[in-house]
C-alpha cells in the first residue's frame, strides 16, 4: 500500500474520513492527508475492509473536502524515532519539535503501541521513592515502577503537588535522579508554562522530555500524546537504563477525545457516553508502567485527572482506579482550610506500599504506624461529624481525643510547605508525636514492642 495516494474520499464525519477503493490498508496503518490548500495532516486506520478504509485524522478537520483531498497510506503503523537527543527537548502532541530545535533523526524507530509486557517478565516494584511529602511517603508510599494517579478537581492545586513530587523524588539508596517525561494533554498554556518553569528552576530540564498538546491544539492528537510519552519513557528506561517518572496531565481530556471518536463511529456507548472499551484503552496506557526482570531502568507513572464535579464514581476516575496501583485524592475541604497539599489520605491508597516499606526499606514501624494513623484519623473525622450535631461536650473522652489528633494530623502532618522536603524519618516521627496522647490499648494497630521502641516517651501516658 505504501506510497499510493487515493483521492477517493467519500465521507467526512467529525474526526473520521472514509476512503474508498482501498483494498488492503493495514489495521493501525499511518496515513498522510494532503488538503486542497497544501496543508498536511496525519491519520491512522481504525477500520479496514476491501474497498474501504476508515481513517481517524489527528488534527483539525475544518478545510477538509471530499474532493481534492489526497490520502497516502504510509505502509507502517505509528512509530516514533527515539534517541538520547530527546532529553531536554520540547515536542508537540504529535512528536514534532516545538522548540526550534532539529527534528530527531534516528535509526531506531519504535512502535507507539507495542505489545503488553509479559506478566512473567515483570519484576515486582519494591524500591521506596522518597517524595518528601508526608501524606505520600508516610501513608501512601510510592515505589519505583508504580502507577499512582492524582485524582483532582478543577481549581485544586494538583499541579503544585505533581511538580513538588517530580522535584523532590529520589530513591534513598541511589544517587541518580529521575528523568522526567512530561505529557501535557489538552491543558492550558499557562499550566504547561508552570511545569516548564518548574523544571527549569530545579535544573531538571536537561533530563526532561516534554510533549505538549495544549487546549488550543486539535483534540484528536491527544490519542497519541500519552503514547509518545510512554514510548520515549520505555526507551529511556529499558534501553538507556534510566529511572523515568512519567507525568500525564490531564487524562480527563484524553478520555473526552476517546469519546469523541467513539461517537463519530456511532458505537454503542457505555456509561455516560464513554466507549465500552475505555477500560482496555486506558489499561494500554497505565499498564506501561513497571519494571522488567534483568533490565535496570523503570517507568513510574503519575497520571493526573480532574474528576468532573469531584465525583470519584465518574467513569474516568472509576476505570482509572481499577487499573492503577492506588490513587492520591485531593480534597476541596482541605484546600479551603488552606492545607497544602490538600490530600484526603482516607480515600487515597497505594497498593504497592507494603512492598516498599518496612525494615531495611523505610523503618520497621512504618506499616503499623500508618495503619494506626489511618484508623485514628478516621475515628477523629467521625467524631468531628458527630460534634457538629451534638456538640463537642457530648462526645466520649476517647472521641474527643481522636478529634484533637485528627485536627493536628491535618495541620502538621498533611500540611507542609511548598519547599519542605521531609525525610521519611521526619515523617514517621511526626506521626508518633501525633499519637503520643493515646494509651497503649488505644493504639491497637501497633504491636507493643514497636510502641515501646518508638512512642514519644516524654508524652506517654499523658492522659
Amino acid at each position: 500500500m505504501s506510497g499510493v495516494a487515493f483521492k477517493t474520499l467519500s465521507k467526512i464525519a467529525g474526526p473520521l474520513i472514509f476512503v474508498e477503493g482501498v483494498d488492503n490498508a493495514a489495521y493501525g496503518e499511518m496515513v498522510e492527508i494532503k488538503l486542497v490548500n497544501g496543508q498536511r495532516r496525519q491519520g491512522q486506520v481504525l477500520d479496514t475492509r476491501q474497498g474501504l478504509a476508515i481513517v481517524q485524522v489527528f488534527g483539525a478537520t475544518p478545510g477538509l473536502t471530499t474532493e481534492g483531498t489526497s490520502t497516502k497510506f504510509l505502509g507502517e503503523t505509528a512509530k516514533l524515532s527515539v534517541s538520547d537527543e530527546m532529553l531536554g527537548r520540547v515536542f508537540d502532541g504529535l512528536g514534532n519539535p516545538k522548540d526550534n530545535g532539529p527534528k530527531i533523526v534516528s535509526k531506531q524507530r519504535i512502535d507507539l503501541v507495542g505489545s503488553g509486557i509479559n506478566p512473567y517478565s515483570r519484576e515486582e516494584p519494591s524500591e521506596f521513592i522518597q517524595t518528601g511529602m508526608s501524606n505520600v511517603d508516610g501513608m501512601n508510599t510510592l515505589v519505583r515502577g508504580q502507577k499512582l494517579p492524582i485524582f483532582s478537581g478543577s481549581g485544586l492545586p494538583h499541579n503544585l503537588l505533581a511538580a513538588q513530587i517530580a522535584r523532590q523524588a529520589k530513591v534513598l539508596s541511589a544517587s541518580e535522579s529521575f528523568s522526567v517525561v512530561f505529557a501535557a494533554i489538552g491543558i492550558t498554556s499557562e499550566e504547561a508554562n508552570f511545569f516548564v518553569k518548574q523544571f527549569e528552576e530545579s535544573g531538571a530540564l536537561g533530563r526532561t522530555v516534554l510533549f505538549l498538546n495544549l487546549s488550543s491544539d486539535p483534540s484528536m492528537e491527544r490519542i497519541l500524546t500519552p503514547r509518545l510519552a510512554l514510548t520515549t519513557a520505555e526507551f529511556l528506561a529499558y534501553e538507556r537504563e534510566m529511572h523515568v517518572l512519567v507525568i500525564l496531565t490531564d487524562m480527563t481530556n484524553y478520555c473526552e477525545a476517546l469519546r469523541e471518536i467513539s461517537a463519530a463511529r456511532e458505537e454503542v456507548p457505555g456509561r455516560r457516553g464513554y466507549p465500552g472499551y475505555m477500560y482496555t484503552d486506558l489499561a494500554s496506557i497505565y499498564e506501561r508502567a513497571g519494571k522488567i526482570k534483568g533490565r535496570k531502568g523503570s517507568v513510574t507513572q503519575i497520571p493526573i485527572l480532574t474528576m468532573p464535579a469531584d465525583d470519584i464514581t465518574h467513569p474516568i476516575p472509576d476505570l482509572t482506579g481499577y487499573i492503577t496501583e492506588g490513587q492520591i485524592v485531593m480534597s476541596r475541604d482541605l484546600h479551603r482550610a488552606d492545607i497544602h497539599p490538600p490530600v484526603d489520605v482516607l480515600t487515597s491508597l497505594s497498593r504497592l506500599m507494603n512492598q516498599g516499606i518496612g525494615k531495611g526499606r523505610t523503618r520497621e514501624d512504618h506499616r503499623s504506624l500508618a495503619d494506626q494513623l489511618y484508623a485514628t484519623y478516621a475515628q477523629g473525622k467521625d467524631a468531628r461529624a458527630l460534634a457538629a450535631i451534638v456538640g463537642e461536650e457530648a462526645l466520649s473522652d476517647l472521641d474527643r481525643k481522636f478529634l484533637k489528633i485528627a485536627n493536628r494530623f491535618e495541620r502538621s502532618f498533611v500540611n507542609q510547605g511548598l519547599d519542605e522536603n521531609r525525610s521519611i524519618e521526619q515523617t514517621l516521627d511526626i506521626g508518633w508525636e501525633l499519637l503520643s496522647g493515646l494509651t497503649e490499648s488505644e493504639m491497637n494497630r501497633i504491636k507493643p514492642e514497636l510502641i515501646a521502641k518508638y512512642a514519644k516517651k516524654t508524652l506517654e501516658g499523658g492522659e
Binding site: 489495521y27 505489545s115 465500552g276 477500560y279 499498564e287 472509576d318 481499577y322 507494603n354
Partner: protein, 588 residues
Amino acid sequence: MVDAIVSRISGPVVVASGLEDAKMYDVVRIGELGLVGEIIRLEGNKATVQVYEDTTGLRPGEKVVNTKRPLSIQLGPGLLKSIYDGIQRPLDVLRAQSGDFIGRGKTIPALDQQKKWEFIPIKKKSSDVSQGEIIGEVQETPLIKHKIMIPFEVNGKLTEISEGKFTVNEIVATVQSNSSKIDIGLSNWWMVRSPRPVLRKLPPEEPLLTGQRVLDTFFPVAKGGTAAIPGPFGSGKTVTQQQLAKWADSNVIVYVGCGERGNEMTEVLTNFPKLEDPKSKRPLMERTILVANTSNMPVAAREASIYTGITMGEYYRDMGYGVALMADSTSRWAEALREISGRLEEMPGEEGYPAYLGRKLSEFYERGGKSIIVSPEERMGSLTLVGAVSPPGGDFSEPVSQNTLRVTRVFWALDANLASRRHFPSINWLTSYSLYADDMNDWYKNNVSKEWISHRKEALEILQRESELQEIVQLVGYDALPEPEKGVLDTARSIREDYLQQSAYDEIDTYTSIKKQHQMLAIILEFGKKEADAIKKGIPSSKIGALEVRKMISKIKWTPEDKVERLINEIKVDMDDQFASLLAEVSN
C-alpha cells in the same frame, strides 16, 4: 482452504471470507503471522472471528486457515506451577521465545513436551475398565498425585499398560473397546467451552476453610459452593482473593487474573513459591495454576481465560480433588464480552452489555459444585468458584453484580468506608450473607464445637445492635447512652477490632485456624457477658474498658497457634481476678 482471506478488520474482530464448512467456535489462524482466533458468527461464507492477539498491522487480503477444532486445551501433568495466558500459552516459555513483551502468532504447547514423568500403573493388564476410572498415577508435585483416567465414553478391556517414564504425548495404556482400540496417553484435550460432565451433584455440607476470620466465622463458603466478592476499587478484592488462594484448604487452586494488573500477577509469582501451605509445609505454588490475561493483553483472550481456568479446575476435580477457582475479575470478562458484542453490532441489553450476559454468567457458575465424578467407584470431587466483581462506582445495582448475585450463594460485600479506615478485610458484616451457613451446622458441631453456631449468631446480633445504637449516638451523643448500651458498644468494638480485623501482611495474623477462631470469639463474648453483669451491679463501662485484660484480648491475634491455649487460660484467670476486684471496689 487456502482461498480464505481477511476481508475486514476492526480491532479484535476480523471478518474472513471464503471459509468453506466452517463451524461455530472453530479456531482459525489469521494472516501471515498466524494470529489465533475463534469463529463467533457465520453468515454465508463470511465468518466473524474474535482474535486472541493484537491485530495491528493486519491487512485485508491476508490468508485465513481453519484448524477445524474448537478452542481446546491440553490437560496432563505439568499444569501445576504453570502460568498461562488466556488461551493456555505458558508465559515463561513465551518470554523465552519472544522477549519481555508478548509476541504474536506463537504456538507454544501448554505442557513441557520433553519432560519425562514417572507413571505408576494401578490397574493390571486385561482388567475391565470404564470411563473415568483411574488406571495409574504420576507424582506431579510433592503435593499432588496426578491421576490418569480413562476418557469419557470409553469402556472395555485394558489390553496394555506400561510402567516407567513417559512424556505427556506418549501412550501408557491401550483399551480394547468393542471393535476399536483406544490409546491412552498422559495427557488429553478438552474443549474449554463445554463443561466436563459429572454423574450428579451433591449438596455442599463442609466449609472451605480459609483462615480468614470474617469469612470462616460469619460468611463461610462450602466446598463446591459459589461466592461473589463485589467491591469498588481499593476495597481489597484482590487481597481477599489472594488470601483465599493462599490459605484455602483446597487440594488445588486455579487463580485466574482476568483483565487485571500485571504487577498483581507478579506479586503472586514472587510470593507463592516462598509461602508454605500451613498443613503440608510445602510451597503453595505446588498446588497452584495461574492464568494471567492482564488488562493490557488482548481483550478476546480475556474472555477465554475464565473458561481455560475452569476447564483445568474441572479436570483436577475429576481426579477426586477439592479445587477452588478464584476469578479476578469477572467484570473484566463481562466487559470483554461487551466489547466484542459491540463490534458485532449486536443489540445491547442493559448498560451496553449483551442480552446474554446473565446466561453466560450462570452457565459459568453452574460448572462449580460438589459432585460424584463419572467413574465406576463414584468418587467425589468439588470445585468451588469465587468471582470478584468490580462494579463501576461501587454501585452494586449494575448488571454484572446483579446477574452474579442471582446465581452465587455467598455474598461478600466489600465496603469502601471500611477500607478507607483500614478495616481489613473490609467485608461488611451487615450486608454480606452466606446461604450455606445453616447447611453446615452439623459439620461445625462435629468438628469445632457445639457452641460455634450460637457464638456466631450472638456475635452477629451484637454487631447488628451496634449499628442501631450508632444511629442513636448520631442524634444524642455517646454520653447520653445508658450504661448497658455502652457495654454492648464495647463488645461490638472488640469483635470488630480484635476479631474481624485481620492483617494479610502479618506473619501470624494472616491465617487463623478454625480452632483458634473459636477460642478467640468465645473469650470476647465471655468478656462481654462479664461486662454486662458488672454494669448491672453498678460498675461504669469506662472502668471495665480500662481493665488490663482487655489488652491481652487484643493480643490473641498476634499469638502463634501453639501458644494460644496458654494465653487464653491466662486471660481467663486474669479476667476473673480483675472483675472480682472491680466488684469488690464497688461493694466497699
